[in-house]
Amino acid sequence: MPTRSARTRTPGTPGTRHPLRASAAVAAVLAALSACAGSDDDTGTGSGASGDVSGEVTVFAAASLTESFEKLGARFEKEHPGTEVTFSFGGSDALAAGITAGAPADVFAAASPATMDVVTDAGAAAGTPVTFVRNRLEIAAPPGNPDGIGSLRDLTEPGLKVVLCDETVPCGAAAQQALDAGGVRLTPVSYEEDVKSALTKVVLKEADAAVVYRTDVVAAGGKVAGVDFPESAGAVNDYPITVLGQAPNAAGGEAFVELVRSAAGQKVLGEAGFGTP
């Protein structure tokens, strides 16, 4: 029922012949909706969000957020009965391009401020994006770290096949920043198009090491070993999130951002390897 009412709200029913009747219908629908929302409040959802959240919430999020956002989406639907969270996970830059081209999304969570800037520069964000988590780099090595990699400099050892992300994607830019900070000159065998494919090369043992995010190492479970290195502190990646200006369901989007930034949301993200801002 709530989805139906949400649908009638969006077309706006431009009843050119009977504007009075149309607006009466809208009023009736809104009344029914608020009655629904009232009963939602009565059941006591516990979260601080206002009760009139309903319908579909569309979230565009960086691929590295997949596991934790899916958990948060399920939680959101439970806390707000009648809602449905739809995710589109992908490279932040591709998502940003989709949003500026008019994709109907409510929330955008990017893996770097630079990709968020694309959206804010186009005037597509509602308000100012806020940083909700941070991600730092780690070296991913095959399980047991057979080559005994202990530092960024170890990656320059001859014969070692290292893959990096391409500098055009956030993980590649961060890796280059860390390499510069450590004064390490490294020639990889490949500049991968995203962090997951860099990780895959190590999981399949085609590469001996990759510089990826800590969260990717956590998500890979036992398939790779993570090696922390001090230079990663100089290349921490901020993840900004915002509700979008053209959001079809702005109230739903705001409630979702609220959940992500809440203590419960931060706990889920922390388990995935993210750090607090």
């Binding site: 055009t168 490949s190 198009e193 399949l204 043992k205 085609e206």
Partner: protein, 297 residues
């Protein structure tokens, strides 16, 4: 309808000879003749969807041309990186086509001419790379031919050959994706070609391989050419399997589609310009081949 039995023995071969033989010769004549017969041109139920189909295929390319950053084109065209990627693309696509020809034509012959159990299944397997998402194809190649792959580990141990992250790896990935196009085209032509020419060659004492080389190959040459062009075009645009299997390193494995994709992340305008360069080169090559070689075949 009626099987080409006894009567065909005597009258059949000359029929087919007149049927297939002279067709390339007087082909232009029948093409000009129907024109006065249907002055209104093509019937509407065919013309409308045909034009819609053409618009559907051409419109995205027109949009690309309209939005192209023409002012920055000269700068791009003189960039060494672009030429490096373009040269690598052309070399790899050509090598992949050669590899597809060497392995694919015999495979097509096997599928068309030799009865064996499970032929239908084998035919389906050959077309599998067409439906497989190329990135998955790349992962499959890593698992088969990678340093730690099923076959790849022996290549590494015995010959010290590792394909991932090398130019040879690019050729392998492109051939994997492009060869089915060639096999399907050649097999179709082979099945349409009359096997009785080969049988006639056999009665004159030619072995099966000689018959293949001297009779079958010239007979299906246009089909092979068409298949090779398809395979080359597919290999030139290959992205997913290449970047997954061979990685991305400028000058070694970064072909044009890879550099277009990565440019898209940073500078969409440059990506459009790069795609246009790739399109222009492929159109030039294909048109050149068509004029010089395909029409004479």
């Amino acid at each position: 309808m009626t099987p080409p039995s006894p009567a065909g023995e005597g009258g059949g071969p000359p029929d087919t000879l007149t049927g297939t033989g002279p067709s390339p010769g007087p082909a232009p004549r029948p093409r000009t003749r129907p024109r006065p017969r249907t002055p209104g041109g093509a019937p509407l139920p065919l013309l409308v969807p045909a034009l819609l189909g053409l618009a559907f295929l051409v419109l995205p390319l027109v949009a690309l041309l309209l939005r192209a950053p023409w002012s920055s084109m000269p700068e791009l065209l003189t960039s060494a990186e672009v030429w490096q990627a373009l040269r690598l693309s052309l070399v790899c696509a050509t090598a992949a086509t050669a590899l597809s020809l060497v392995l694919g034509v015999p495979l097509a012959w096997l599928l068309a001419r030799v009865e064996f159990p499970g032929r239908g299944l084998v035919r389906a397997l050959v077309t599998l790379p067409l439906v497989l998402p190329p990135v998955v194809g790349g992962v499959a190649l890593l698992m088969a031919l990678g340093r730690n792959g099923v076959v790849g580990r022996w290549l590494d141990d015995w010959f010290g050959v590792t394909l991932p992250f090398t130019t040879a790896g690019v050729v392998v990935a492109e051939a994997f994706v492009a060869m089915p196009f060639l096999v399907i085209a050649v097999e179709g032509t082979l099945r349409a070609a009359d096997p009785r020419y080969e049988e006639a060659a056999a009665t004159l004492g030619a072995g099966r391989f000689t018959a293949f080389r001297r009779v079958t190959l010239p007979l299906v040459a246009p089909g092979i050419a068409a298949g090779a062009v398809l395979a080359w075009a597919r290999a030139l645009g290959e992205f997913g399997a290449t970047i997954t299997f061979a990685g991305n390193f400028p000058g070694r494995t970064q072909t044009m589609p890879l550099s277009v994709y990565l440019a898209l992340q940073r500078d969409p305008e440059a990506a459009i310009a790069l795609s246009l360069v790739l399109l222009a080169v492929s159109v030039a090559v294909l048109a050149g081949l068509r004029d010089r070689w395909m029409t004479s075949a």
